[in-house]
Symmetry: none
Subunit: 203 residues, 4 copies
């Protein structure tokens, strides 16, 4: 099992470390995430961890990014039923907040992380925000405006405002530990409907 390992094995080892790291975060939180702990959890020497990650920072970054990808993957799964675009927005935001809350440790670390490597994925203010979810939201808003008779002057801005509200909501629900499904559904719904209401009337 020593040298010139097949790329598969490499990936496997990296995966092993990542899984170990995530296990630690999930059970004890990010404060407990240390190189030492990861090595122990993965049943590997400390040196090995440094073989795969240059330093703690890059390990944390990998964990955080991996958490973000799980989150987004979850959110992007297709809905069960076909619904009107405005309904879809609500459904998706509910799922977004639920997923974020269920992985709150990652969510906060990712969404408040100022490291350029992370912000690259999470930015809301950069122009071509395709990957980050803002793009999808714009598309949905556009659809809604056609199908449901909204008139939206600046979709980009409106999407961002709506997103910021949900974002603020998510963080406060986590912080205030109001994480029941009911809380989530109620607030997402009223936020979205308030927003759409405005759009409908603004023609």
């Amino acid at each position: 099992m020593r040298k010139k390992m097949k790329p598969d094995t490499i990936k496997q080892n990296e995966m092993k470390l990542l899984i170990a790291a995530k296990a630690i975060v999930e059970s004890t939180g990010f404060e407990a995430l240390s190189i030492r702990a990861v090595a122990q959890q993965a049943d590997v020497s400390i040196g090995t961890v440094y073989h795969y990650y240059d330093n703690k920072e890059s390990l944390v970054e990998a964990v955080v990014l991996s958490g973000y990808q799980s989150l987004m993957w979850e959110v992007k799964q297709p809905l069960v039923n076909e619904v009107a675009p405005s309904e879809e927005i609500i459904e998706r935001f509910i799922r977004y907040v639920k997923t974020a809350i269920s992985q709150k440790k990652y969510y906060q670390k990712v969404m408040l992380n100022p490291s350029p490597a992370i912000v690259k994925h999470t930015s809301i203010f950069k122009e071509n925000a395709i990957g980050s979810g803002i793009g999808s939201l714009e598309v949905l808003l556009q659809k809604a405006s056609y199908q449901e008779g909204f008139t939206i002057q600046d979709i980009g801005t409106q999407a961002r405002i709506l997103w910021l509200t949900i974002y603020g909501l998510t963080l406060r629900l986590i912080t205030e530990k109001k994480t029941t499904d009911e809380d989530i559904v109620d607030w997402v719904t009223v936020i979205c409907e308030t927003h759409f209401y405005k759009l409908k009337r603004s023609e």
Copy 2:
């Protein structure tokens, strides 16, 4: 070395430690906030710090709360000119975001802190939200609805939605390091106007 200190002296000592702690946070960040550092900065022994604070956690809590109070004090200062309520809301939010950004280290620590002692001050979801600013915002919205012809059905909810958007905005501006005055003014303005527009039309 002293005997039977007057309560004043106690308060003075506590203050000295708090000031020292804040100085450290401001110059080097929360990561550098250690008991040792505080003792040194305040020119006091380590043991003394433990006289006033049970452990590190309670010291951090005190620092964080004190930061929050400075922040709110700043925001609550009266405006220079008398303006319409809707204008005042915008002005105050601009100031809020600016102050939060100028003290971002505290702002994040406070506003994302789930400790009950902190949440007690920062909560947005609890009913009688008088102290936290939501109360003031409700009052302003109420005034606006009278003076400027809005119709608002549920002022409490509307105030919270608006606040959540500004809250989300603040955190993302910090995270993405978009902290110029222009960014702040533009975003706060468009967010508030979008919101008011909706209210005006919703009659």
Copy 3:
């Protein structure tokens, strides 16, 4: 034995650490001098070492300086018999080289150490070289020139040249492991006599 220790105790502890450190150097060399080893040798926690020394560098510096002081103390002991100044120079240099060789580990570390804190003590080129031994050598050369009929134009320079030769000799005897008493006596004698011979004739 805890707090507000008497200064004596403090000095004792520092001494304990210094002695431990020197024991390590003497038995295993400077490469083996680690904070860990010192703590163990002194039967003290690692943290305690850091209580007395800011970092490894300052510990090493203390060890090195202490070694230098022992060396100089040894060299400066009065001679057993009163002899002519030129003889005294030879006797003292023989003792210097012998002591240096018997403590070769320190000698090299000190005399090749470029740290300002060390060079301050060992410098040969600075003007007022009173403490470093050059001063004493100048005095002896001066005496010799009166009593034994030398004429020396620039005593400072001549003292330094003689010293440099002995210094070079010491280092090479150590490096080439020619450390018998015979080697030392022979070389120091021939070097000094060569030097004096010149001086005698140069009138």
Copy 4:
């Protein structure tokens, strides 16, 4: 990946490693000279380094020796102008000290290295000191004694004494960081002239 490498290739690889090692020493010092670093610098695997050198020690030895050879090559280059032997000695020593100082990292490591493999090259006390420079110095002194009317009883000893002085000088100039050309020229000159003066008078 290759089969049956020609001896040339072997030498080439060794050279590549040696060059890499020297590059590291020159840019970052001997402390930074690690097997890892050499492998990286030479764009070669760690294992390969161990093919060519048994362990770190032998690599360091090779580096050190190679440095010494560069140094001596430089010193042995012919002088630009033909000059009297005593002048040539001064010129060559000035060059020696300058070169040593310009490569101080190697100079110290070599000239204070007690490993037999190194001392074999640098020894000053062994009898047939042909290669090490002492031989050349003896020849020059001999020439001077014929051409310039010195009488020297024991050329071998006198050469060594002069050499030891220059050696001591070089090490102290490095240690005390007095490395301007002026310092070098002044000291070498006064040392040599003092020595020659003695020789002239000793007839």
